[in-house]
Amino acid sequence: MTRGALRLVAVLALAALLLALPLLAEKYYVQFATKILIMAIFAMSLDLLVGYAGLVSLGHAAFYGLGAYALALLSPQYAGANLWTSLPLAVGVAAAAALAIGSLALRTSGVYFIMVTLAFAQMLYFVFHDTKFAGGSDGMYIYVRPVAAILGWQPFSLEDIRHFYYATLALAAGTFVALAVLLRSPFGKVISGIRVNEHRMRSLGYATFRYKLVCFAIAGGLAGLAGYLAAAQHGNVNPDMMGWHLSGGGLMMVILGGMGTLTGPVVGAVAMLALEVAFQGVTKHWQLLMGGFIVLVALFLPRGLIGLAAAARRRREPGP
């Protein structure tokens, strides 16, 4: 079999596995898989910034949190929000916030950008933590999941964990495909060009600031999508969803998987969440192990697991 055919078989097998999972696995694993898919969306959106545009954001959780809070604020107390209106609204709110924050943060670059994105995320954290309008430090509860009703007809119910899984799977796959198309478009080429050499792109006549800003807003909106889904799944939101632990964790997923690829962040999300569970099984102080692991990845695995696999393949089949 050729390489291409092999890959096709692998993709089809993976798709079949993902589609069959709710029929085979227990409830806990279906929920865990849903959580992984949500984190995969978040990590892919961050990789658009870090891996493709070369913008290292340490405040990406802010938009995740905004998407989550948007759902909480749009949900009536004892009823579900309408999925078809609340989801686009949540994504829109997150993207609009990214547009506003990006227009300031993108005036800087490099290490400033890292610090400024972290600071703005922290500012939003304080807005929700210190004021009462969204429940303060306790956050808010969402008692009923969003309802997927179209004129009274309900094609699926998110209260069913299998339906929720399939909806998340569809959105994660949609994000993957949309980003793949975006990155192959002229827009994506410009973004990659900016990462490699912004001066040159500017001298070629591209308004690089605007490209970066649009990229930042798209990534923010997708992070909002992930936050929306997380809020719907867990039934509550709190300011920690905007905290920098999630921003740092997201970066870790991107790098562990392999940045600058779309499969990388997905692999990273799977690996990180699995590791978290594994470490939690070892000791109460699992963060110590996680911290040590992150240090080792930063030192010895700069290209991530995808890079490791690619290097192994090169060793097996030396030179074309």
Binding site: V111, Y112, W244, M290, V295, A298
Partner: protein, 299 residues
């Protein structure tokens, strides 16, 4: 606001600003000279505070705890630089962020293992426990004045060290061209190690002297780190002068944001949104000068 309370808030803001400067100057020096962005800097502040609390408990006095704590924190700094940070000099900022983020997780968890998760108070040393009366009813604690004084002395000392000594000259040369300095026969690796240890010691020392005022609690380092980022962004990264101006500005804005009462159309803006003020200040500076007040122009 009346004169008495105003004076107290002014003194408080100067004290807070100077303390922030102590921490932010280490952050900005490590970046300016070594090109390392160190997220774990706040953790050293936290470690300092916990060292002050636990050593003061064992040794009986903060005066003994501080020198012991400084020795320990310098040792931690040298060890970390040698083991980990020195491998990151030629790497992208992304990996520095990731590695130091990992260090934060480890520091927080180690803190939990060694010292637990409780909030602790540290007694003000007896010699400085007095208060100076300002008016008939108001007085100001001597200890806070002492903090300000120590910070000013250290700032002056740092200025002299960098501008007037041979070591300072080497450090400045190393910041502009590492390879050239090394080829002149100077052990630049040792200089970097010293700078990093100095930065760690400054942050830890700030934590030690702040402990009696702010108490000692989990997560205190991360809170301070983010404020220091704002200081550095406002002042201009790599600039010690900028760190001083930025820290004093933040001290002022933060302190008065918490005591001022401002309402707009029946909605209480301050102090309800006091947590936001310093970030708005940062946003303003970014609009005006993205490179910070004393920063070199970007690009």
């Amino acid at each position: 606001m009346e004169l008495g309370p105003l004076a107290i808030q002014l003194l408080n803001s100067v004290q807070y600003g100077l303390l922030l400067f102590l921490i932010a100057s280490g952050l900005t020096l490590i970046f300016g000279i070594m090109g390392i962005i160190n997220l774990a800097h706040g953790s050293f502040y936290m470690i300092g505070a916990y060292l002050a609390w636990s050593l003061a408990g064992h040794l009986g006095s903060l005066w003994l705890a501080i020198p012991a704590g400084i020795v320990l924190s310098v040792a931690i700094g040298v060890l970390l630089e040698w083991l980990l940070i020195s491998r990151l000099y030629r790497r992208d900022h992304l990996y520095q962020v990731l590695l130091t983020y990992g260090l934060i997780l480890m520091a927080e968890e180690l803190r939990s293992v060694i010292w637990g998760d409780d909030v602790h108070g540290v007694a003000v040393p007896a010699a400085l426990a007095a208060s100076i009366p300002l008016t008939e009813t108001l007085s100001y604690p001597v200890y806070r004045l002492w903090i300000s004084g120590v910070c000013v002395v250290l700032a002056a000392g740092m200025y002299l060290l960098i501008t007037r000594t041979r070591l300072g000259m080497t450090i400045r040369a190393g910041a502009s061209n590492r390879d050239m300095v090394a080829s002149l026969g100077i052990n630049i690796e040792l200089v970097y190690r010293l700078v990093f240890a100095l930065g760690v010691a400054l942050a830890a020392f700030a934590g030690m002297i702040a402990a009696p005022v702010s108490s000692v609690f989990p997560g205190m380092g991360n809170q301070v780190l983010i404020v220091c980022f704002v200081v550095v962004v406002i002042g201009g990264i790599g600039s010690v002068k900028g760190a001083l101006v930025g820290a004093l500005l933040i001290g002022f804005v933060d302190t008065f944001g918490k005591v001022a009462e401002v309402s707009v159309g029946g909605f209480r803006v301050l102090p309800d949104l006091a947590g936001m003020t310093i970030y708005l200040l940062m946003a303003g500076v970014l609009l005006w000068r993205p490179e910070g007040i004393f920063g070199r122009r970007l690009q």
